[in-house]
Symmetry: C2
Subunit: 202 residues, 2 copies
């Protein structure tokens, strides 16, 4: 699909880069793929890919339709008092699913990673590098605990928004946050959490 | 498909009852369907359905390929010390997914309830009546907390067995039980989560 006369801002060029990125990530994995390789396949130079997207992470996000910016997720986890990490994460994650703009791509992603092993492998690698590694290093939390915090949030999304089990589906967001935040807090900080204490802090 | 000369033990009859049950549950929901209606559609009498299956719950389980007996799940939750409910449930649930015989139907069920609204609605009603109602009543636990315990276990299954995120996928079962049990315990008993106390009790 290479065409002559491409310039930054040309939407055909952008689409060609995204198509090349999907191929390259799919063939080589997240770590194996390079901006240089993506650019070569798209018939543009690497500087143009950098110009459009800024980073491999951003190319991946655009090409694979990642619903949220991992940097924002990491920022939310790390910015603010450590004893409120669980509450911040629970609230942000519920927000993604309540927002109709991010909910559909989250649902599409959930369905593809639970039904397609290749997509699952690709996203595992991406989330591992873009989120888990950074948070694990910054907080000194074992990755197994980060995994488990993620399982609680994925399960919560399925129960509340996908299957819609009652009364969870209709429960007030604040009530859900209050119940789930101590669990995320427990996984991420390794400390025992008493929901009574948690309420008192709010 | 009704045939003359059906007797209990005739596998055609059993198949006809199961096919009728799938139709009836799908059309009327779990509570709306009746053994009488299923028998009528299969061209047998209700006593024969009782003879084959024993209860509407068992007909549902056989017809919709429910991977485990809800009675057994309820029994595991309720039989034994209350302060070890989380550990019992976490261990039982991980066992279902580790056992190759129950894993495949669990995965099939997970995929169908996350992709098909009608199947999701049917199973919500079934699990609500066969599990949540009984446990909620027996333990005096709000159903929202039971919902949340279930979301943790569903998310755990997805993370460990479906997506297979590392290191959760390869982690030792006892380590996973030790980390997750306090969360299930917290949801089901409403007490604070302290992993140190939990470890000391083992």
């Amino acid at each position: 699909m290479a065409q002559a006369g491409r310039r930054p801002g040309n939407s055909n060029t952008r689409e060609a880069v995204l198509a090349a990125a999907r191929n390259q990530f799919s063939a080589k994995g997240y770590q194996g793929a390079t901006i240089r390789g993506i650019a070569a396949e798209a018939g543009v130079n690497a500087a143009m890919v950098h110009h459009f997207f800024g980073s491999k992470e951003a190319v991946f996000g655009a090409a694979l339709r990642v619903p949220v910016d991992p940097q924002r997720v990491v920022g939310t986890i790390l910015d603010g008092p450590r004893e409120q990490i669980g509450e911040r994460l629970a609230r942000m994650f519920l927000g993604f699913w309540q927002d109709t703009e991010t909910r559909a791509p989250f649902l599409a992603l959930l369905r593809s990673v639970t039904s397609d092993d290749r997509t699952a492998a690709l996203f595992k690698e991406f989330v591992g590098e873009a989120v888990f590694s950074r948070v694990s290093e910054a907080l000194g939390v074992p990755r197994l605990r980060l995994n488990l915090a993620m399982t609680q949030m994925v399960g919560l999304a399925i129960g509340r928004f996908v299957i819609g089990v009652e009364p969870l589906r209709e429960a007030d967001t604040e009530e859900v946050v209050e119940l789930v935040a101590p669990v995320i807090q427990y996984y991420l900080t390794g400390t025992g959490v008493d929901p009574t204490i948690h309420q008192a802090q709010n």
